[in-house]
Amino acid sequence: MTTSSTLPSTPSQTVGPYLHIGLTWQDGPFVVPEGTPSAVWIRGRVIDGAGEPITDALVETWQCDEHGRFAHPEDPRSAEIGSGFRGFGRSDTRSGDYGILTVIPGRVPDRSGVLQAPHVDLSVFARGMLHRVVTRAYFADRPEANAADPVLSTVPDDRRQTLLARPSTDGYTFDVHVQGERETVFFDV
């Protein structure tokens, strides 16, 4: 590798309090179209170090479809994906909760071919956060897949539950604790 030719990355800055002007989309929450038979809502709060909900945050999600296909040119199977599946969700927290309508993703292998449990990657942005934080939501009602997941297995036992979305009336609940005793596990990606 010729490090001399590499360009240094542009630094991150906070989205600030007025993020909605630039980052709100009417269809943001819809990873899949409304009416998709297997669709579920993933909802939750983003909570600060004092236990208060952060109402000026933005949550973005990214995942594969139910068959493990990504809506991305790097995935050779992307052409097989139904037109309604975007893979990407975006929701602010002005109502107290974020919420995205999606499907439970399929299982995709990691780099060494080990099958991962179904998971959704989340990026969280907010005023007061100079860089996003990234975490993963797994599904609490998939204990066997979770037990074999190569990423979850690197997470200390007592913190693993912070990565579990729990069944709710219309899907799953996944709160993100930015700081504090119940702090969510975040990842360097």
């Binding site: 240094p8 630094p11 309090p17 002007i21 809506a71 050779p76 991962q116 930015v178």
Partner: protein, 245 residues
């Protein structure tokens, strides 16, 4: 290169940014970070297919006038008309083509069109302050807009944000996602701004646009150039066992 190849991706890897690139989440001079930064170290997530892919957006999402913030209303907004342009590159200098760029900003008087912005500076009926565009095949983007004003905030007594435009970039993967702010050269407000100064000193100038006489148009608009660099890929793409036979 068989049936199994279809089930796994040829996974590139994105280089981590070295220390000294991004602001620490715990930046006490910016007071709102106090309760909004994790206290524990992040864990390392080996990049899998989920991380090296990402939303490729834009088709059908960009309106014809979305990259000109001065023509979104019947009248023209007040203020200094500017053209902000540049390239989105990766860390190896390669263009990032066909990639969504979103911006938002205050008006010429430093006021945002937002419920939460209530300081005594007028809204401009002809300015919303939101734009989006796609980079072209060479990674180039361009916006026409109004130079935003500085604005006060409550971080400390007499705190003013230097003029800035918020930028949101997707690149081609989750690992490249970036939200940042572009500043203007020689702003006298830099010294007292904890958000600008949260960036490690050696990296701060990467957030400052360059005045561009070549793109300044006679009797029309001042030009500013702002290139954005997203993470590059490791030189040797990862090869998984399936490709070895």
């Amino acid at each position: 290169m068989s049936a199994r190849h279809q089930r796994t991706l040829a996974l590139p890897a994105y280089r981590p940014d070295p220390d000294g690139t991004h602001p620490p989440l715990d930046s006490p001079d910016y007071r709102s970070t106090a309760l909004r930064h994790p206290l524990r170290q992040p864990l390392t997530l080996p990049q899998s297919a989920t991380e090296i892919t990402g939303p490729v957006l834009g088709e059908g999402r960009i309106g014809e006038r979305d990259n000109d913030l001065t023509v979104q209303h019947p009248g023209e907004p007040v203020g200094q008309r500017i053209v902000v342009h540049g390239r989105v590159l990766d860390g190896d200098g390669r263009a990032v083509p066909n990639s969504l760029v979103e911006i938002w900003q205050a008006n010429a008087g430093g006021r945002y069109r937002h419920d939460a912005d209530v300081w005594p500076s007028p809204l401009d009926p002809n300015f919303d302050g939101a734009g989006r565009t796609l980079t072209d095949e060479h990674g180039r983007y361009e916006f026409t807009t109004i130079k935003p004003g500085a604005y006060p905030w409550k971080n400390h007594h007499n705190a003013w944000r230097p003029a800035h435009i918020h930028f949101s970039l997707f690149g081609r993967s989750l690992t490249q996602r970036l939200v940042t702010q572009m500043y203007f050269p020689d702003d006298p407000l830099f010294d007292q701004d904890p958000i600008f100064n949260s960036v490690p000193e050696a990296a701060r100038n990467r957030l400052v646009s360059r005045f561009d006489m070549n793109r300044t148009t006679d009797h029309w608009a001042l030009g500013f150039e702002f290139d954005i660099v997203l993470r590059g890929r490791e030189a040797t793409p990862f090869e998984d066992d399936d490709h070895d036979h």
